[in-house]
Structure formats: C-alpha cells, structure tokens
Symmetry: C2
Subunit: 311 residues, 2 copies
C-alpha cells in the first residue's frame, strides 16, 4: 500500500482546502491578487511602501527531528521567517512554502505540519501564496515571508552608532534549554513553538526607538557580533542578562532559537520597560572599535552561537 496515492496536484488541492477562505481563491484577496496554483503569486503593493523578503531553510536532523510534533515543526518553519520580518519592523504580507517530504512523512504528518504553519500564519493574517511540494530522501522545508514597511523605514542591522545602547526583548536561553532538556515543558515550548515579535518590531519602528535591529535566531553572541560588524562598531555586554527560567548564562549568551529581538537605541532615547507586551532589557552598549568585536564584563567574548556551516 502506498502512503501517497495522490499526485502533486491532488496534494495542492488538499492544501488549498486547508487554507482560510481569504487565501483559498485564485485571487488571494486584498493585495494578494493571485494566490496558489499558478507559476507564481502576484502581490500588488501600495505606493510609498517597501516590501521586505526573507527565506529560511530547515532540515531534518539539523533544525528538527522526526519525532518532533509535525504541528510545531510547521509553526516554527514560518516563525523563523516572521521573526526576520519582525526584525525589520515590517508587517508580514504573504508567505511561500516549499516542502520536500522524506520517506517517513505520512499524509497525516503533512496535514499537521500545514495546520501548524497555517495557524501561526493566520494569527498574523499572512496568506500562503504559493510554494513547492515534492518527495526527497530527507525532509526539508524552505519558507519565504514577504512583509511591507513604509518607504525607507525598515529597521536594518547596519545603521547602529557608537554609544547606542543594546537591548533585547524577553528572556534568553530558553530555546537552548528546551533543546537540551525536553523534559522542561516551558523551555521545550519555547524551543518548539517560539513566537515571532511582530508587534514589538512594528512598535519599535513606529515609535522610532531603534537605530538598528535584528532577530536572535542564532544566539546573542553571534547575532550581536553580526549587528556590530554590519554597523562598523564593537559591543560591550554586561551582567545581568535576562536569562530564561532554568537556563544558564551561557545559554543566554550563546543559545539559539529564542526569536527575541535585538536592537540598538541612541543614548538620548528613553526605552520603556515593556513594549507590545514584551519585557525590554538593556544588555550593554556599542562602542568605537574593531567591527563585530565583543566584550562581556570587560573580557573578550567570541561569538559561539549557532553557525549554520561549522556544525
């Protein structure tokens, strides 16, 4: 008995049936002029807007495991792209999803995967506009999210200045803890079902609080080093860090998969303790120095977060 009696077209129809009505029709509705089913989606932006695009790939054995729940894998797949959109201060507009299903993938797994993906997509009113679907030796997922932002207002990572303060949202290290100790339900939930900080990114942009921003997907040390290098500055980190309950300081410094926001703030700007429902913590400041160089409590710190190539 074949687990996959259906053709690709049958599968597309099956996915189409799972879409919210808004995204289901050939004309996706709103600014999405043409949704799934053609060679490409059509998105018609308003004048005076910038569109931003991000793409993130996930692989079996590397970003998720076969025994992880399919719903959460789908959720996390779009969360990663939404988090990038949040880091630009943008609103998500639509998404594209490519799924390569490995031999162990069942129709039920695909259904649950799409359910998780579409649940988070629906929460942020982000229609699925197209994608690609096929079989492969290993399961792989690639997600594109497009977002929009008023012209010229996107939060970039190369626009911070010396003396800007460094802030992070939320508490760090929960993703790393959840990966290491799946018996910790709170941390596992953070690892499997992170929440993209869309509302916080929009608020930072609208209130003009941040001089630069990015998301914390690979770990504070790696991501801050990137932001600092892009902006041509060095960075000093200091205690206390906002550490996720049960996680270590090393988890907070180097652990990935938190999907909080990291942003720089000019010294003259006053930052609230809480914005868009998220706690904001100052963890240091940017200084003149070798671009990307980090000090932690005065000692040199090497970026030791997740590197997509070295492991």
């Amino acid at each position: 008995m074949s687990l996959f009696p259906q053709s690709e077209d049958d599968w597309i129809a099956r996915i189409e049936a799972r879409l919210p009505v808004q995204g289901r029709s050939r004309s996706g509705g709103g600014r999405l002029v043409l949704g799934i089913g053609d060679d490409a989606a059509i998105y018609r932006p308003a004048p005076g807007e910038d569109l931003v695009f991000t793409t993130d790939m996930m692989h079996e054995g590397r970003h998720f495991l076969q025994h992880h729940p399919a719903f959460e894998i789908g959720w996390k797949a779009i969360c990663r792209g939404l988090s990038d959109i949040a880091a630009m201060g943008a609103r998500p507009e639509f998404t594209l999803l490519s799924l390569a299903a490995g031999p162990w993938v069942t129709p039920e797994w695909i259904d649950a995967f799409y359910d998780g993906f579409l649940a988070l997509a629906a929460h942020f009113k982000t229609p699925l506009a197209g994608g690609d679907l096929g079989r492969a030796a290993h399961t792989a997922i690639d997600v594109v999210v497009a977002g929009s932002v008023p012209k010229g207002e996107a939060l970039r990572r190369d626009t911070a200045k010396p003396d800007d303060l460094i802030y992070v949202s939320g508490r760090l290290g929960g993703g790393a803890l959840g990966l290491r100790e799946p018996s910790n339900a709170l941390a596992l939930d953070r690892f499997l079902s992170p929440e993209p900080r869309i509302h916080l990114g929009v608020a930072l942009r609208r209130r003009k609080l941040a001089s630069a921003a990015m998301d914390l997907s690979d770990g504070l040390s790696s991501d801050l080093s990137r932001l600092a290098r892009a902006s041509g500055v060095a960075a000093h980190i200091r205690r206390p860090l906002p550490v996720f309950p049960g996680a270590s300081e090393a988890d907070a410094l180097h652990g990935g998969d938190d999907y909080e926001l990291l942003f720089a703030v000019p010294p003259s700007v006053r930052v609230p303790n809480c914005l868009a429902g998220q706690l904001l913590h100052c963890v240091g400041k940017l200084v003149v120095g070798e671009p990307g160089r980090l000090l932690f409590e005065g000692e040199p710190l090497l970026p030791a977060g997740w590197d997509h190539f070295s492991r």
Copy 2:
C-alpha cells in the same frame, strides 16, 4: 582536515565577493534598496506594477546528481524560477537562494554552483538579494525569483477559453532525452542548461497574443492538463508535435525539464512562426469538456509527465 574552516558569515562574504558590483553593496542599487546581509531584502516597486513570486526546490538524487557539474546545477536552479517568471510574462527583478550543502559538497563545488547561478542571473540582470546557507545530510536548493509586470497584465493559467489554440515554443522532449542518454551532447545540454524564455514571455504579454500561459517543466501532458483544468476546459492535442532532434514523441508528450512556454491563443489572433527568437508551434486546441481532460489524436491521454509526489 575540515573542508569547511569557514563560518556561515565567512561564506556569505565569499558569496558577496562573487556578486556583480550592482548587487554587492548593502544598497543593492536600483529598486533593490537592501541586498544580502540583513534579515530580509528590500525591494521597492514602482506604482502601477505587479510583482510576481515563484519558489522552486531541487534535491540531490531527485533533480540533480552528485556527479552533475556544479555550474550547471546552479544555472538550472535559477532557470526553473526564471522560467516561471517568463510564463507570467514578467521581467525578473531579484532572486533569493537557499542552499543546504550535503557532506560531499566542497568549497569549490559551492563556488562553481554560485558561478552558474550568477551567470544566468547576470544574463537577465537579476540581482541575488539574499538567502540562506547551511549544512545538511542531503544537498537541497530552494530558489525564489520575484518579477514585475504592468498592473493586471500577468499571464495566468486560468484565463484560457474554449476554442483557443494551444501553442508551445521550441522543440519538446530534449530534457527527457538528455536525462536518459547523457551521451547525446545536444540533449544533455538541454537537460543541464535550459534557457528560460523570458523574452518570449514578455513579447507574448506585450503583444497580447496569449489568453493564458505556463511553462513546460513537468511535461506537455501534465502541464497542459493543469492549464486546461485551471481554465475549466478540455484540450485536444494533435500531430505533428515539435519533437527535439533524437527524442521520441513520448518524450515530447510526457518528458519534463524542457522549460519551453505553453500558451493559449484566441482563434482570432494571428501568431507568428517565430517570436523573440523562438519557434512557435500550434499543437492543438482547447474545447468545452471535463476540465483538464486531454485527447491526443482523438484518443484519451492521461497526464504522464513528472509528478513531484508520485515518484
């Protein structure tokens, strides 16, 4: 000795160095306001335009083999997306590339892969705006191409009418022949290095010749059935088909990887024999009937092209 001493950031810098100067800087130039290196690319369209987006995934062992030349794999990876853009009658604007490098992938392979990808990108002035790069158990590639088209003028596949004639560009079956008989240099070249019909797509759109269009990536029988089903019509195919030299009629009917264009033409419209350098052949017509049903020389024909799920 590790083949990959570099980090992801080193790899991004290495790729950045391979970009044409236009796409290299943080401001990509032109309508690409922000290129690679941030969380997302920023593209600022002109008013009165529609953007179209397509995504295509390729997997080791399925769409390419380890022994295929890396340059051609890179070329074909973007060709598939460009061909979708061509089928919409759009001009390509930028591309995003995600590469998951399997264990056998060397730095030299990645260099040659990007060289092939960027060679075809440069030919169509399509800057690389971002992407994702990492290690995985199997090599996988996902490419997004965004294109632009005057508002409302994109060629869709769901807008053909009964009595429209069915045309294809070029000669069909070369991709299938090249896959089966790699000793046939002409056919192997078609399989490894197909050419997206961008100029033809734009010409069809500008001259208002086509009532609907798509690209032939999976084979005439499968793709025509999709176009007909999307448009709510049936289709009659008749001999002679324009067959690639050395290929069989079955290759032309069912073989994938040709990347020619398939389009419908209202009966009142006169189509030239050659357009934008491509031969155009009438291979049948659309009729009232069960949506997607095919007849070949009067006999029922089942779609038997490449299905991304059933094989």
